[in-house]
Subunit: 408 residues, 2 copies
């Protein structure tokens, strides 16, 4: 192990190189986007013009719904294919839950069970996806952090909150290769989330953003949450959400939504007030390009070939530089877009030290409600966007920053 003077010398060398690197953004690299370029060379044939380019199909093109139903794990009649962003879908669902009565009930989240003075509250597994929290913050929804374990959200906390907190209206979940921990929920956790007793208007946003974003040969498998909810008599609990942002294009992709028939009827009314139909041309292109779930999986193997060496690079540097140093650990994910690094009491300091040497990291605490990580421990690393060489270079600076912060 290097002595601290060596650490300082190496850090100073990196600093002197004056490179600036960015590990903040969980976005696909140019190389990844290039493999989906053929999708954007597909013509809409003349014969399809009347069907694809006019108003209509506010819940998506039938063949796109058929393609993505198995992706979400719901029947095609429960599948919607919507705009270009699943975040927009989740945002709108929250808005609609706040402003309009829930299916089968006389009240909305805003007037939750008639208790006007209470703020609706959601459970937020932490660390979690910052944009989930942004939605809550924006609309005055209180957030209860639920610590993540290696099996998913701590179900003791979930159970306690669901049983005792009258204002509890819903929960955010990233069940597979969770943003940012990389954790996949255990079968036991998934089953309990589906079957536990809750208030009737309680909703779980099952944000399956990394459904097919495996980094290993054996993908993590989880039970079908939609079916489990249905079987437990809780069909309306689940909003199953997905997108092709990290499959085809982050901006010109498709948002996917699976929901019960009661939720569907409820949401169609909301859609009628806001849209004249989906972008069916783009949905049609996606169907031609991806064809079926095997097509999706084949494309994801190409993504993986580009992305996997970067995750390996991150893990190697962390192992080489930080193994055996007390007060620091990390999670090597089996899928998804992030690596989580934990340095309790020093996360902010590490991010600052790294920035002084030109490496931009996501602000410490960003994965917690209101940006507050009480342990000041968590750092989110996003290695997909920069080239491999940059990732390895940046990670050395991150590792040295950790050692400087810890003085070890």
């Amino acid at each position: 192990m290097h002595a601290m003077s060596d650490v300082r010398r190496r850090y100073a060398n990196f600093q002197a190189s004056k490179r600036t690197l960015d590990l903040t953004r969980g976005k696909p690299s140019d190389e990844q986007l290039a493999i989906t370029h053929p999708l954007f060379e597909i013509h809409i044939p003349r014969a399809e013009v009347p069907r694809l380019l006019n108003y209509g199909h506010i819940d998506g093109l039938p063949e796109a719904r058929a393609l993505f139903a198995p992706y979400l794990g719901v029947p095609v009649e429960n599948t919607m294919v919507l705009g270009n962003s699943s975040l927009a879908v989740m945002h709108d669902l929250v808005v609609q839950l706040l402003l309009s009565p829930l299916p089968g009930l006389s009240y909305s989240w805003s007037a939750w069970r008639g208790m006007d003075r209470m703020k609706p509250t959601m459970l937020c597994p932490v660390p979690g996806y910052d944009r989930h929290h942004t939605i809550c913050e924006r609309y005055g929804i209180d957030m209860i952090p639920v610590p993540m374990t290696k099996d998913g959200p701590d179900m003791e906390v979930v159970r306690r909150e669901v049983e005792s907190r009258g204002s509890l209206v819903g929960m955010w979940c990233s069940p597979r290769y969770s943003n940012p921990t990389g954790v996949t929920y255990s079968a036991k956790v998934v089953r309990e989330l589906a079957s536990m007793k809750t208030a009737r208007g309680f909703r779980i946003f099952w944000d399956d953003a990394y459904r097919v974003h495996d980094l290993e040969d054996e993908p993590d498998e989880i039970p079908n949450f939609f079916e489990l909810c249905e079987r437990a008599g809780n069909a309306d609990r689940a909003f199953i959400v997905g997108s092709t942002s990290k499959i085809t294009s982050a901006g010109s992709g498709l948002a996917l939504l699976g929901l019960s028939q009661a939720n569907r009827a409820w949401y169609l009314k909301a859609l009628f007030a806001q849209t004249i139909g989906q972008d069916k041309a783009n949905q049609w292109r996606h169907v031609q390009f991806l064809k079926d779930m095997e097509g999706v999986r084949a494309l994801m193997r190409e993504h993986r070939a580009i992305v996997k060496p970067k995750f390996d690079g991150v893990a190697q540097v962390l192992r080489r530089e930080l193994t055996g140093i007390p007060g620091v650990w990390w999670e090597v994910p089996r899928g998804g877009y992030f690596v989580s690094l934990y340095v309790p009491g020093h996360a902010k300091q590490v991010v600052h030290i790294a920035s002084e040497a030109g490496v931009k990291l996501t602000p410490a605490g960003a994965a917690y409600p209101r940006g507050i990580d009480p342990a000041d421990a968590h750092i989110r690393l996003a290695p997909t966007y920069p080239p491999l060489e940059d990732v390895e270079f940046a990670m050395q600076i991150v590792a040295l920053s950790v050692r400087l912060a810890l003085g070890r």
Copy 2:
């Protein structure tokens, strides 16, 4: 003029033909969509992949904003190019006005000037666009109908309401070739709407849906509302809205929004909570295809060549069959998508009689808040979608239905 027995005989003949025809939908015909087909054959070049297919640009692609700024009549830095539907944009603006504090103020529409018990109220020129009303109805916004005159909304009513109604938060306007009357607001009306004194959070949705949808050589011109508002010190009053739904594609088109810098800063925060970037590939295709405002106008001349004969057909049949019959009149528009037919006291009856002979019309009253036309007068005719021959056939049945209802 034919005697009533002749009218009945002709109606019976039409009925016997058992054709079913639909004049309900203000949508482009297959022939119109065909002229924009080349847009959907445009490839995204490989060199543009990194810029177009990743996250970012939540207010639109810079060159798309530059193209559509003169369309909206606002500076490019006040222009946003958003999703595939201007209805979605107006819907979201209303939601954001209801849920978040207005720029420079401490309250939202929902807590309008601190008066919690009052329902926010909007002015709705009638007859108007039904989807504007749907948004109000859905979110509990009260609607005050303002009669349309040949110059636009009756400004005496507007003035009275703006001065006296404390709950008044905004107004819907379709300033050019208005849906469904075809009326273009006079310069005097536009100027007064921009300069009149209102509460600070008051907003006008300037839904310029038919900006370039002229049917005559000399287009109707109106003063620049955005500039007038700015000059009067009311820059934040105006949301200028447009779309390419009836230019390129109704579903794969673009939504356009012009707004003041204060509104822009306010709305960017709202967008951040709901989107990861616009569909830049589609925006880029639009820029290649339309190029500039001259390109837009050239395309609209092609649309007009298809659409104009249908409007002429409607006017001819109405003139031939109904001229001189008291208790009925109509407006021949100089642009837009609709013809308005008025049969006071008999609109519902006419729609019913026409339906018995196979002609589907928009339900009478649909253009009024909550579907209630107090005079039971207005019938909206949408001649763009069916082939010319069908339009003429259907219009004969409509005319005969009017005569049967009136007994003349």
